[in-house]
Symmetry: C2
């Protein structure tokens, strides 16, 4: 028998989650029904989007119900199978297992991955939802072309760092906004960005003007708030703004700050478009193949920041919003 530690959503947070938001519970795993597998989860993915899933009300996805396991992308191994038609013990599979150590499932929405080609955390980052978001966001919504000037906010983050590298591969000039010298140096020295802006020490508005003197063709926004407003001032004609997220606003208890400079869209005949990665589900395989190839070639670097222990979920989660992380945040739960 297996004892499963699982993190339960107990209360919808207002602003930042606190000690009443989640509770860690233990349950015994029951016998498998016919066609089910038992998955031992190794890693769960931590994403800013989690904040939104905890809110009540309409969004691009159903909110997490109270008393349900906290939703999360995850990866693990099949350790038991009761006549599952496709999966065998030892298979490595990724899916939406949530923040828990074991899952009993028919695995309909899980997919098998090849652990010999990439490490498990990589399947949660560049080869997972994070990478898919970056890939389709910058290519399909941002519609980058060679020679474009691309500005990325949250550029040292999981999505932003991939966005910027793809834009470099495609021949764009790429400037990233990040917090702190270390992250900014990382963008330029390690990832090959053309420039960086440290929002903690620089005036973002002035630095964009200086580093994008011809203006911005594509702004990929993970942050919202003042950064979006500053970028709007500097867009070029027919610019595209990709609204991927607004991490600066997710824990607001007041009303979200809308972009005061949105009329720049009119002046510049520009487009601001939202994206949700799930819309590209039928093309995930194509994107994963392309990005694996870029990784092999050394053109695309993937960085995972791995923490351990399901007990440490909340502390790790907070790093999403404090910025105390380097790359894709992953928690080893078992």
């Amino acid at each position: 028998m297996f004892m499963n530690k699982r993190l339960i959503l107990k209360k919808r947070p207002i602003g930042f989650p606190d000690e009443n938001t989640w509770a860690l519970e233990e349950e015994a795993i029951n016998n498998l029904n016919d066609g089910e597998v038992l998955v031992q989860q190794h890693y769960v993915s931590l994403d800013p989007a989690m904040r939104g899933w905890m809110n009540e009300g309409k969004s691009y996805i159903e909110p997490i119900n109270l008393d349900d396991v906290m939703r999360a992308g995850s990866i693990g191994k099949v350790i038991k199978s009761n006549n599952h038609p496709k999966l065998n013990v030892g298979d490595c599979i990724a899916g939406w297992g949530g923040v828990q150590q074991y899952v009993v499932t028919e695995a309909q929405n899980w997919h098998k991955v090849d652990e010999t080609l990439a490490s498990m955390p990589l399947y949660l980052s560049t080869l997972g939802m994070t990478g898919m978001t970056a890939y389709f966001g910058i290519l399909e919504v941002g519609k980058i072309k060679e020679g474009n000037v691309v500005l990325v906010s949250g550029a040292a983050g999981a999505v932003g760092s991939i966005v910027g590298q793809i834009a470099k591969i495609k021949g764009c000039t790429v400037i990233g906004i990040a917090g702190g010298k270390e992250k900014c140096d990382y963008l330029v020295d390690e990832l090959g960005f053309d420039g960086s802006i440290d929002y903690k020490t620089e005036n973002v508005m002035l630095s964009i003007r200086e580093k994008c003197p011809k203006g911005i063709d594509v702004f990929f926004d993970n942050v919202g708030g003042d950064m979006l407003d500053a970028a709007l001032v500097h867009i070029r004609k027919h610019a595209r703004i990709v609204i991927c997220g607004a991490i600066s606003q997710y824990n607001n208890t007041a009303r979200i700050k809308g972009p005061s400079n949105y009329l720049s869209l009119l002046v510049n005949r520009a487009t601001m478009q939202g994206m949700v990665v799930f819309d590209y589900a039928d093309r995930y395989a194509e994107a994963a193949k392309q990005m694996s190839y870029w990784i092999q070639q050394g053109k695309l670097k993937s960085k995972e920041d791995i923490y351990e222990g399901i007990e440490n979920f909340q502390e790790t989660y907070n790093r999403l919003f404090t910025g105390a992380k380097h790359g894709k945040l992953v928690l080893k739960v078992l």
Copy 2:
């Protein structure tokens, strides 16, 4: 000799223009150079965009210089020609003559119109920039399809009333937002809109929900501010928001109010796009032909609200922003 009364921009307004913004001057018309014509202007077009042209700084068009004639679209007749290669005395021509009674010009950016087909004011409204804005805005940026739910703000205004009628012609369900019962009745009873919302007496947020129960596919926004925010709450998946103007914000002395609900673009994978009609200049003829045809068929109604006297420019201009007008605002200057 002709004495020309012309309105000069003397001071850039802060907020609403006042008595120091413009000055009416008189000048004697000089002899024509070779290749020039003298145009007697009959009507000038009044447009909310004028407010923006008076501001300093980068926009989609150069600001009007201080001490220059106030920019305006206009229509009039050639009353003198000094060997102009194409225009003859008696020709009716439309262009950017500004707020004045006579213009001496080589007429390079003017175009000849047929006064027997439509009245002069119509060439400043549905068959002029106003109509072009509506046509390309709703068709090319709004990308309406049969069955779409279309919401229009400033719906009884010059652009909005044409937008809504085109959407009806194309088989959409059309709801218009306007100020006052008379305008709202006009939308439904005269123009065939499916419904109206009176922002002066109704809660716009609640009324949109009630009148667009399935949500909005296209929002054509002339107003901005709270209306844009209310519309954002009710957009459907893959909705298009056309940013044509933001008349509620043009006279702000404080910072423009950005759309707090812009993250609805993300949730709904929606697009907010700005437009400037000049980008479609090479297709004006096509649009004018199509709209003339709709007018002939009785499917498209054009309403001009005509005032008289160049001395009354400022009072007439103010009607753009107070809403004390019915349809396209035109001033007869001679």
